[in-house]
Amino acid sequence: MNKNKHDPRPFEASEEREWQAQERALRNEKLGSDAAQDDALVARYRTIARALRQPPAGALPSNFAYEVARLAALQARPAEVDARLEQWLVRLLVGVMALAGAVVAALYGGQWLQATGALFVETGGVGVGGWIMALAACFAITFGFDWLRKSSHGNDASRA
């Protein structure tokens, strides 16, 4: 029965027998079987099982469920309003930002296009092929270093 270190010690044989008597008493009481068939130990535990199957005194008021549901609804309402307001504000913010972006693009878009075009003309000597070569060199350096690091680690591991 032990599944982790916090479990108590396992039952000894005599305790296991008593546990079985407790369980039989519970079963017999549930089934309402003839008490005359129980041995003395099971009969004792059956009296206990009967007492334990009695609900404790007191109860919740009859309108408890209704009242709790009403309270829960009242508590949930402000949270719902907050969430809706937050959603609305986020949408408004995104809309304002999109509008601002469109206005800026309309005002300065022409200048940006001209500047970009001029940059291509200035670097015309390098050309598209030059930029591709530069990009390939970056990749080669990155992957080259990575390959060197891995191969040196592999050699260390095989030596160990």
Binding site: H6, P8, A43, R50, L52, Q54, G58, A65, V68
Partner: protein, 198 residues
């Protein structure tokens, strides 16, 4: 024989009820409360033994259920999940009041617990069934909160040991040990009235 409360629901029924509550279906949460208020009451009342506090804590437990239901992942029965919330609400209440909730089931002597369970027993009294039952109930009340609750969940609510373990956060072996020792203590308290069992 006392009838055991019936909270047995299928996973599909659990899912339908939870989805109805989360979708704000009219009357859904009230239905959920009605279905599990007996379980909550038994756990909390057994733990705190103070009807007024128990009522308030039951309300707190269900409000927390309502608040956190979206976190329920259907990996356990809804009954266990709600029982877990009720148990943690009652446990926190006892901790705030600095009331110990359990005696260690690993203690071999168990003397102090046995003494408290036997306290107030008139060993010379007569042995009518009603008196035996009354004394047994007094002995059950004298058990520490955790032991009382475990016994109630197992016997009255018919919750299996594995589910009690989930509700209380204790290992199954610990639950089994609590059950064994508590029932043995109750038997020991009963013996002077009924004679020693063979």
């Amino acid at each position: 024989m006392a009838a055991s409360p019936d909270y047995t629901t299928s996973p599909d029924e659990d899912r339908a009820l939870v989805e109805a509550v989360l979708g704000n279906a009219p009357g859904a949460f009230e239905r959920l409360v009605r279905q599990y208020q007996g379980l909550c009451w038994h756990i909390i009342n057994r733990m705190v033994r103070h009807p007024e506090d128990a009522r308030e804590l039951c309300q707190e437990a269900f409000l927390r259920v309502h608040q956190c239901l979206h976190q329920y992942r259907f990996d356990a029965a809804l009954k266990s999940w709600i029982g877990q919330v009720a148990y943690s609400v009652a446990k926190r209440h006892l901790e705030r009041k600095r009331i110990p909730i359990a005696e260690n089931p690993g203690d071999d002597d168990g003397l102090s617990l046995a003494e408290s369970v036997s306290d107030g027993f008139d060993l010379e009294a007569s042995v009518s069934d009603d008196e035996i039952a009354a004394h047994l109930h007094a002995a059950i009340e004298a058990l520490p909160p955790l032991q009382r609750t475990v016994l109630t969940l197992y016997h009255l609510e018919e919750v299996p040991i594995g589910e009690i373990s989930r509700i209380t956060g204790l290992a199954e072996g610990t639950i089994k040990s609590h059950l064994f020792r508590s029932r043995k203590l109750l038997r020991d308290a009963l013996e002077p009235r009924m004679g020693v069992a063979a």
